[in-house]
Every structure is written in C-alpha cells, then in structure tokens.
Amino acid sequence: MNKPLMDRYKTFDFVRKPVKPGELDVSHKTILYLEDVSVSFDGFKALNNLSLYIDNGELRCLIGPNGAGKTTLMDVITGKTKPDSGSVFFGQTIDLLEMDEPAIAQAGICRKFQKPSVFENLSVFENLELAMKADKGAWPALFARLNGEHRDRIEEVLTTIGLTEHSAQQAGILSHGQKQWLEIGMLLMQEPKVMLVDEPVAGMTHQEIDRTAELLLSLQGKHSIVVVEHDMEFVRSIARKVTVLHEGSVLTEGTMDEVQNDPRVIQVYLGD
C-alpha cells in the first residue's frame, strides 16, 4: 500500500499551501484522513489501528462483516465517539478530534444514521428545513425566514425522495422506508462536503434501491461520499473503490472485482 506517501505528516510544511486555520484544504486531493485510529469499549477493540483516506469527490463503499466497526468509524469521524488513539483530519488542516459534533457538521461532514433518525414531532417539510444549509446559531435561527429559493430547494428534495405528498405529515408516522428516504433528503439539504451514508437502502424495494444508487452516483464529484451497505448488488452498482473492514481495521481495498475475489473477503464476509 502507498500509505507512507500519503501520510499527512510526511509532507513538509513548506510544501503545503498556507491556509487559514480551520479552512478546508484539499490541496492534496484527500478530504478525510484517518490514521491509526483505535477505539475500544470495555476492552473490546471496535477499531484497531485503522487508517483510511478518502479522496475529495470520491464515492467510496465500505463493507465488512457485522461488527467490523463501520458504524463506529462514522461515529469517530462525526465526533460522536472519541478514539483512544490516532488522528482524524478533515483536509490538511482541520483536526476533527478537537471539534464537537455541531462543529464537525458545520464544517461539512454530514451523516445518515444506520437506524433512521428523524424528528418525529416535526413535519417532513420542517425536518428538511432544519437540515438546510444555513447559519446554525441560535440568534440567526430566531430571525431566519424561508425565502422562495429555500422553498424551491426543499420542494426539489421532496421530489427527489418521493415524499412530496407527505410534506406536511409528521415524520413519526412515516414507514421505515419513508424515514430512510427522509433522512437521505436531510443529508441532501445540508449540502455537505462529505456524506457518510450508513446502510441507506435497508428496507427499500428493488426499484428504490436503484434510484438510490442513481442518486448517489449523481452526487459523486460534488460531494465526497462514504457508503456502508451489505446489499452487494447495490454496492456493485455504485462502487468505484471498495474498502473492506474487518475486526476494526482495513482488510483490503480495491475495485469491486478485486475485493470480490479476494479470498480473505470471501472468507470473512461474502462466503462462497
């Protein structure tokens, strides 16, 4: 692997473009750096010296057995879980470990949860409105008004996720699949630089899965996307580069074909 070359610390300071601290710097094409990240719970190592790099604009699939640490990885990136060791950088300069969840989200890393979590007492529309990219301070929120442009944006997303009819409905009464869609919609509203998508197609019909795949494909380039899924058909349909996680560290990385034929992957994950 070409890890040493990519290691952020191996880059001499003067080579780097001077950037304002806190501003995203993707001059090295890499948008997310995870290096030697370890997380343990009561002695159980959920992540074990994991290193992973996501390129700017890439669509990356992350697969691996149940419990391999995929969700935990996302927890680490979004600030929900603090790793025991290792470093996590957003671009060249932003140390995510020093930031809390809102700061990370504001910096442009957004996430869809494995278990769909939407605001059950708000309407579908309001769910999207809250997610919308905007100043998220308390004071601006007090005086924020929805303008036409905003509405159009929300309508657009509603159409994309097929919930236009349910716009005024409380999110709590949506079915499981509808909630999945709504959460994808919320992700879209945030217009993030990095999207972390945890099992987006669970509970969807075949056709919906295809639509999701299309959607994700259309987003790549504009956004860097990390998708976790167990549905191999879906993964195959979107994957450029696939990373396989196993027991908290990267087992292998490569194209779908490479991965599928990797005997270790077959053994721990795919089966014969």
Binding site: F41, F44, G64, P65, N66, G67, A68, G69, K70, T71, Q114, K115, G162, I173, L174, S175, H176, G177, Q178, W181, E199, A202, G203, M204, T205, H206, Q207, E208, R211, H230, D231, M232, I266, V268, Y269, L270, G271, D272
Partner: protein, 260 residues
C-alpha cells in the same frame, strides 16, 4: 395456520389496512411484499396485537386472536422479529435471549436452547455485552435468535435481511447438519446450503423446514423472497391485491405492484 379475513385498521382517522385477506398455511412460508408504506409492518403489528384493529378476523390454528393480549399470542407460539430489531438495549445479549423463556416454559424449555448459538455463533461471543452496543447486524441476529427462544410455531419476520452481512452461510451450514442429525432427519441440506449465498435466507429456510416452523416474512428484495418463500402476498395501500405461489409472481405483477 394463520387466516386473516377482511381486516381493517386505522391510525386514528387514517384508514391503513382495508379489508385485508391473508392466509398462511401450516408449514408454509409466505412472503408479504409491497412498496414502502403500504402497511406491511402495520399488518404484522396487528397480528401481534401491538396495535388495535377496527374490524375483521384473525385465526391462528382456529383460535381467534382478537381477544388475546400480545403476551398470550406469544405463548400460543408466535415469534416476532420486528423491523428495526427492537433489542432491549440495556440488557445483555444473554438477558435479551432469556426474555423469551417465560413463554417457552410451556414447551418445557428452561434455558436458552443451544441451537440458537449454533445458528448465530456471534451471539455466544457477545453474551455479556449489552444488546444496544451490538452492531446493527449483530442486533438483527439477536432479534431472530430471541424469537427462536420461544420455540415458535409461527415466526413473523419483518425485513430480516436488513443490515446483515452476506455470508454466515458456511458457519451455519455445519450447524444445520447437526440440528438435522439431532432431529434424526437426514436431509442433505449441506449441499444446498453451500450453494446458497445468503446465509440468513438459508437460516430461515432451515428454521422453516427443520423445526417445522411456519414463516410469515416481509421482504423487499425479490431474489431473496423467491428463494425462501413458497407463497407471496402483495399489499397495495393497505389492501391485499395479489397472492399465490411464488412461481406465480411474474414480471407484470412485479412491475405493477412493486416498482415505483
């Protein structure tokens, strides 16, 4: 084994299930299909008695379910694996499994049957961990295992493949062989199992065939459904619009009812 006739259900004012018909033959495996939000989960919850129905009849082995409470339905031998897993998050895996023992007592089951750990070995490794800490897939396995503790005669599964890794097959294969032998049945399942890629699918099949459990399944993924189930039933906007043997599920029906 399960017969549902003209079932109507409302969420407050909104009519969700309309004159629904469904029958699950003894020993069969029926797959309930339909787009998002048509009422599949709702129907299963009605059968479990978790939400009230407005009218209609539900017979389980000729017993009317209507007057029975959820827990009594469980005791009759209906096992439920809900959508979203619904693990008891702060109970350990072991405790989660033990929960079913009360209803299983009537079958003389006093401790968590070993075969569950054979089907889902990961549960054995994680016995002491809190259910809520498990990964999504592990939780799903726990949910199925938990339902099996009841020694159910009818197993209801709501999208059980959701979030499960595509292998576990090889491991389970061995388990099944041993299960079979214990039961004195010599079905050459090993080979078949080796052929199948999806192990949960296989597990369900095995549970269905070997333990004589009838299965009612909600599944979106067509290939899986085809593989596992012998009958299907399609819902649309709360109505049952098509049903029959799995082989009768042709492209037109799929186009008409399942695509968006």
């Amino acid at each position: 084994m399960l017969n549902i006739n003209s079932l109507n259900q409302y969420y407050r004012e909104s009519h969700t299930l309309w004159d629904l018909q469904l029958s699950v033959p003894e020993g069969g495996c029926v797959c309930l299909m339909g787009r998002n939000g048509v009422g599949k989960t709702t129907l299963l919850k009605c059968i479990m008695g978790l939400i009230p129905v407005r009218s209609g009849e539900m017979l389980f082995d000729g017993v009317d379910l209507a007057p029975l409470k959820s827990e009594q339905r469980a005791e009759l031998g209906i096992g439920f694996v809900p959508q979203g897993r619904e693990i008891f998050p702060l109970l350990t895996v072991e405790e989660n499994l033990k929960i079913g023992l009360r209803a299983a007592r009537r079958h003389g089951i006093k401790k968590v049957p070993e075969h569950i750990f054979e089907i889902f070995p990961v549960l054995k490794q994680m016995l002491g961990r809190r259910g809520g800490d498990l990964s999504g897939g592990q939780q799903q396995q726990l949910a199925i295992g938990r339902a099996l503790v009841l020694n159910p005669r009818l197993l209801i599964l709501d999208e059980p493949t959701e979030g499960i890794q595509p292998n576990i097959v090889s491991e389970i294969g061995d388990v099944i062989i041993r299960l079979n032998k214990a039961k004195g049945i010599k079905t050459p399942l090993v080979k078949e199992a080796a052929e199948v890629k999806n192990e949960v699918r296989e597990a369900i099949k095995i549970i269905n065939r070997e333990m004589g459990v009838t299965v009612l399944l909600v599944e979106q993924k067509l290939p899986f459904a085809r593989k596992v189930a012998d009958r299907f039933c399609i819902l649309e906007r709360g109505r049952s619009v098509a049903s029959g043997g799995m082989d009768e599920l042709d492209e037109t029906k799929v186009k008409r009812y399942l695509t968006v």
